[in-house]
């Protein structure tokens, strides 16, 4: 019994920690730029694929598997360059448009990135060898937990901590919060809004790509992963509340653990359960658990 509970808990938290990163990127961008980024799942997928490339190279030049986390993080950060490209090249043209167009532009991105991934990496499932199990397995209360899962969980918590610190204790964070509250006011106070948008979008992108890169040793990269993830990330932010970091955190935990529990209790319910919760939340608490806007 204890074993089962420990298993369910850790599986749920592991799932949640990856979801959190993607959802946090989604939230940040939505909070500041008011754009709901349907392509956040694509960034995640890009992170995963580039992570594989980096790890493969790292291992081929003799890098020890236990340090593979470094090339993974590097892959996530390298992909930061697509942030400014997309923001300056596409998004900035639609800030003054109806929100629907912004949504659709990110939908266009999703379509494009899906094929770009296919163009570069094909459709065959790809994975990194020799990383996932290199860290060993931890046995507690009769349950076995791969140490790599714990690393991802810790990394995600650290990133959450850094985000929280940035948002509440730094000048950049204060500017972000001011802009998300009222961007006209922020502009009037002499904040360079373009600059903020680039930075925020890039940060949001990197959260997604790192999420993808970190998760990839535990699984395999497949072309569907973007579309599948966006539905989950969407559930997370709706449950947590759009634009709220705390919401992303709690929402991710909820979705992750619920998925885990539903598998243990009644597997047929899995996705259905998540959609139902999303709808229930939207009906009774449309702003989500931690959201402010309606």
């Amino acid at each position: 019994m204890v074993e089962t509970i420990v298993n369910i808990l850790f599986s749920g938290i592991f799932h949640a920690s990856v979801l959190f990163l993607v959802a946090a990127g989604l939230q940040l961008v939505f909070g500041v730029q008011k754009i709901f980024n349907l392509a956040c799942g694509s960034f995640y997928a890009l992170g995963a694929y580039l992570g594989i490339v980096f790890v493969k190279y790292f291992l081929s030049v003799g890098g020890p598997p236990v340090l593979a986390i470094l090339p993974l993080l590097a892959a996530g950060f390298v992909l930061a360059i697509i942030g400014p490209i997309i923001e300056r090249g596409l998004l900035r043209f639609v800030y003054d448009r109806d929100v629907h167009f912004q949504l659709l532009l990110t939908f266009a991105l999703l379509l494009m990135i899906e094929d770009i991934i296919k163009l570069i990496w094909g459709t065959y499932p790809l994975s990194t060898q020799g990383v996932y199990l290199a860290f060993g397995i931890l046995d507690i209360f009769g349950a076995s937990i791969p140490v790599y899962n714990l690393i991802v969980i810790v990394a995600s918590i650290v990133i959450a901590g850094i985000m929280a610190h940035i948002l509440s204790n730094t000048r950049f964070g204060r500017i972000i919060r001011a802009t998300s509250d009222n961007n006209e006011m922020a502009q009037a106070l002499g904040i360079n809004i373009n600059n903020i948008y680039v930075k925020v979008f890039t940060l949001g992108t990197v959260l997604g790509t790192i999420g993808g890169a970190l998760v990839i040793p535990s699984t395999a990269a497949m072309s569907e992963m973007a579309v599948d993830l966006i539905v989950l990330a969407f559930a997370v932010v709706v449950i947590g509340g759009l634009g709220s970091m705390k919401g992303a955190f709690v929402g991710a935990l909820l979705v992750g653990i619920l998925k885990s529990v539903s598998f243990a209790v009644y597997p047929e319910l899995e996705m259905l359960l998540i959609y139902i919760i999303v709808i229930v939340v939207l009906v009774f608490k449309p702003q989500g658990l931690f959201g402010t806007a309606t």
Partner: protein, 433 residues
């Protein structure tokens, strides 16, 4: 392994086949004028497979196999001197797939359409083929609804082997290799294939092992990349064996994540179709001693089959990967078409009509990548399946199987006119009787 192979080779009649294969791969031949009674211009063959999504893995492999086949045939002079021209279209949801099938038929005027992987699309295209009288040679798409054939009287449609075949093969192998298991849990994709396989597996295994108990099956959505929770749920049931009908990248993912939870240290496993993407099953996380099934093609089932050796070499050179099972399906359908046309020509001296090709295809038996394959009188494919226990004793970084059990579909596919249930009941009587 040796014994099995010999057994199989005997049934397949390897002598004839060696010659046939040699002829096929024979010396280069320029395109002479088409034979007498053969129309000018190329033979147009429509090819349809998934190019996006999870099913793109086998889909693209099948398309590649078709291209390799066409190159080989054209080098050898085409079909009766006619060059083969492939028209490739994407398979996707049923609506678009039927549209493309129509396009290949009406607009491109293809002589035959080879392809289709999904059963839903198979039902739609199967019906369509009869309506617009187009020859359709399916790779992997059956026309079954669940375990029931929806188009028993198909004429133009030549269907793949039944969906649940791998599961039946898996059950037989399980009964043979692990006769004493008591409790089985199952996991599959949340769609008809996953559910049908689980149902068929349960039915067949319980014939041979009446005391076995089955847990409620777990089904995850196609394309799932995180099985941690599913693995926990499976482990919590404390089964002796876990059966899985995963056929794509999910096999490698669940095995990797299961390794992280030491699942298969305690439990036996039967992956009925997992060999589909066998080179992703790395030794690092795939234990030895799992039952692993290869749907219709195992890339080293024999060292003495020039067709496969040549194909694997070309495929690997061209795409830096090993062929996937779909390659053999695709390859066979095209081989069968060519043989049927030639057979008709031998009889009439004319390029055959579609109807004549249909007659010729029924009962045909031709060499393909994994041995001889054929069509039954009810337009259903017959081929062999490969099951075995995973081993690390090879030169690759992924597992192979040893021994290799070769199960011909005559043994694991319901015969013409039988429903699965009737067949299973009859079979059960035989087992118990």
């Amino acid at each position: 392994m040796e014994k099995n192979r010999r057994e199989f080779l005997k049934t397949a009649g390897v002598g004839v086949l060696g010659a046939g294969a040699a002829a096929l791969l024979g010396s280069q031949k320029a395109f002479a004028a088409p034979a007498k009674g053969v129309p000018k211009g190329p033979v147009k063959i429509g090819i349809m497979g998934f190019q996006a999504g999870v099913a793109a893995v086998p889909g693209i492999a099948g398309i590649r196999a078709a291209q390799i086949w066409a190159d080989q045939i054209n080098k050898a002079g085409g079909i009766l001197g006619r060059k083969v021209k492939l028209k490739i279209e994407e398979e996707s949801k049923a609506k678009d797939t039927v549209e493309k099938f129509k396009k290949l038929t009406i607009k491109e005027k293809c002589d035959v359409v080879s392809g289709i992987l999904s059963t839903g699309n198979g039902q739609a295209v199967g019906k369509e083929a009869e309506k617009i009288k187009q020859l359709w040679l399916s790779w992997d798409g059956t026309t079954q609804k669940g375990l029931i054939e929806t188009q028993p009287k198909a004429f133009y449609g030549f269907r793949s082997v039944d969906n649940e075949l791998e599961a039946v093969a898996g059950a037989i192998t399980t009964a043979k290799v692990f006769p004493n298991i008591k409790k089985v849990a199952g996991i599959g994709n949340d769609y008809s294939y996953g559910r049908n396989c689980w149902a068929a597996y349960k039915r067949v295994l319980s014939m041979y092992n009446p005391g076995v108990r089955f847990e409620e099956g777990i089904f995850t959505k196609l394309g799932e990349t995180d099985f941690s929770a599913a693995i926990d749920a499976l482990a919590a049931k404390k089964p002796d064996l876990i059966m899985s009908s995963f056929w794509s990248g999910d096999t490698s993912i669940i095995l990797k994540q299961a390794a992280g939870k030491r699942l298969f240290q305690k439990v036996k496993g039967c992956f009925t179709t997992g060999g589909g993407v066998h080179d992703t099953l790395k030794k690092e996380f795939t234990p030895e001693g799992l039952i692993l099934g290869y749907n219709s093609l195992y890339f080293r089932w024999t060292d003495n089959w020039p067709l496969l050796n040549e194909f694997t070499k070309i495929y690997h050179q061209k795409h830096n990967a090993y062929p996937v099972y779909e390659c053999c399906h695709a390859y066979f359908t095209l081989q069968a078409y060519k043989a049927a046309v030639e057979k008709c020509y031998g009889l009439t001296g004319q390029w055959p009509t579609k109807e004549q090709v249909v007659e010729a295809l029924r009962g045909i038996n031709v060499p393909s990548l994994s041995g001889y394959r054929g069509y039954r009188q009810d337009n259903k494919q017959e081929c062999c399946f490969f099951m075995g226990l995973t081993t690390h004793k090879n030169s690759y970084d992924f597992v192979t199987i040893d021994p290799v059990y070769i199960l011909p579909s005559a043994m694991i596919q319901k015969p013409e006119g039988y429903t699965f249930d009737q067949w299973a009941t009859a079979w059960e009587k035989k087992v118990k009787g």
